[in-house]
Symmetry: C2
Subunit: 331 residues, 2 copies
């Protein structure tokens, strides 16, 4: 990102929930242990995809911000992470025609067939685990949000290589496929801490905005990020024909001849690296990456406004800083 | 199968629950309607995989056999069918290396990526739907059984082309991947009809036996069935290296030279049809298909014994006849 990074490192931001995050990690490891011995290694392997664990952190910080954290928060945080991990594993399933990725994804390591089952198993275990919570609310919200995530992802695949989609449709898709799980995480954090309806709603909106901004930044990183830093193969959105915010802006604003030039680049067979570099140059010239970065910044500003109704606390500050982290991250 | 078919056609057997089966169909159609408009067609398409709807029928008949059917039975029946459909869609996801099938599976029609999402969506909608039942038992049993199904399927893939597996391991795998869902269907049918613990247990065991026999027969049909009648590509177990009961028997009993001959056939590159014909000839000579058919018949005899504790009724008769249907079916 062009702006200097005013945000602390993630472990610093998450300090108010450090102990709880370790407990969530223990729950997640315990879930792996429940699998048949021959299969545990695979579940443990994909658990390493987890990375930053932003979503569980948001469950916990939302709880602290809105009231008192409970044991249920730990379970919900683990379940949210499991749902996220399952979608990651399934996102990597390849079509026969798709290019191989340079990373060892679950499907590369174990085959598509096994990767499908590993993802299914994580989903199913998540829904068993959430049933251990006495109140049924968490199960209701998290099963429902999973249908929303799936609809968003299906719409995204449905509109692959569809370069005429509006920014409204783009926003609908990323709210569903990405932001809805952040929103559910924050809302449940609030609800289980005893927040009233307005408090739940405020944290739901905070999560929705942060998740939306997160995806916008992800879109930009796929074009302009450093693979070494981000830790995953980039340029795959382009290869897969996914519509990202920079592309939506470009195809809305660029003159016909340049739109056609980029269209040719996107549809041409060829190496991911070269394609990415060429598309990036075009989009940078059009200001489309800058536009998407600005929209992400505006969106997290909105997110932070939703925190104003809660009393000042280290957790509330952490949520505000997390919002900034999401747009200023380089990975 | 070699024995004459003493069993009536399925619609005749299911007559006691015909009206309820139509209501279950309406619930399933209603689930499709809830999807985003652009995506409904896909969910409707895969709903057509449903076929015989044996599992929902077992929920309803178990309810009638053990007590009184309720509205919850209809919901559970729909959820069980959705879980089954989701696993079917995901079973058809191909590895890059796998042979194409001759049928239009979801992955062929929509690509692997979309087929994964369609299956995920059906799972997620099933778990939302089951949450509409006031008692939490159905959600608990059906999320848990989904983890069991996944473990069974993962073990099966894990042991692909592993021709030394014991019949015990084979039985564990098919109980988990196939029979457990039948058992859950029957047990929940009993539980929601007010059956006591022993009644639930009896129908659980009935379902486990019927499901086990069902899979044994499926194994035989994959080798010796008529594709036109069965309505799906056969010989795929062999192509995919799945261990079936005839193969388990063959590799336990055949002399070394003939084991090696079949191993060569199984591991050789080549057409599915030719491979199937050659393997079938070897297994028939060894009596391995007959052995598996006998085991299936013994297993449904066991299933029927579990029905003895319930008062005679058209539903109980239907369950007994369904057990016979499962082994005498040719499709």
């Amino acid at each position: 990102m062009p702006t200097p990074n005013p945000v602390r490192e993630l472990p610093e931001i998450l300090r108010p929930v450090r102990a709880e995050m370790e407990q969530v990690g223990a729950i997640l490891r315990g879930e792996v242990e429940q699998e048949a011995e021959a299969l545990r290694g695979m579940l443990a392997y994909v658990a390493r995809f987890a990375g930053k664990r932003l979503r569980p952190a948001m469950v916990l910080l939302s709880g602290q911000t809105a009231g008192r954290m409970t044991g249920d928060h730990l379970t919900i945080a683990a379940v949210v992470e499991m749902i996220h991990t399952a979608t990651l594993v399934h996102d990597d399933i390849l079509d026969d025609a798709s290019a191989r990725r340079s990373l060892m994804t679950a499907n590369q390591k174990y085959g598509n067939e096994m990767a499908v089952l590993v993802g299914d198993q994580i989903f199913a275990r998540a829904f068993v685990l959430v049933n251990s919570i006495p109140s049924r609310l968490a199960s209701e919200v998290l099963t429902r949000v999973t249908t929303v995530v799936c609809t968003g992802e299906m719409l995204q695949v449905h509109h692959r290589f569809d370069f005429s989609i509006s920014e409204d449709l783009y926003l609908r898709i990323i709210r569903e496929k990405t932001a809805s799980l952040y929103a559910a995480a924050c809302e449940l954090g609030a609800a289980f801490a005893g927040a009233d309806r307005a408090g739940r709603e405020a944290l739901h909106r905070y999560g929705l905005d942060v998740g939306t901004a997160f995806q916008m930044v992800d879109d930009c990183l796929d074009l302009s990020g450093d693979e070494e830093v981000v830790g995953k193969t980039l340029g795959t959105d382009i290869t897969k024909g996914k519509m990202t915010l920079p592309l939506v802006h470009f195809f809305r604003t660029a003159p016909e001849a340049r739109r056609r030039a980029v269209l040719d680049l996107l549809e041409r067979e060829g190496g991911r690296e070269d394609k990415k570099r060429a598309v990036r140059a075009e989009l940078e010239e059009q200001g489309s990456i800058g536009y998407a970065e600005e929209r992400a910044v505006e969106t997290v500003e909105g997110a932070k406004h939703h925190l104003a109704r809660f009393p000042a606390s280290p957790a509330r500050d952490a949520l505000a800083e997390l919002a900034d982290y999401v747009v200023h991250r380089t990975m």
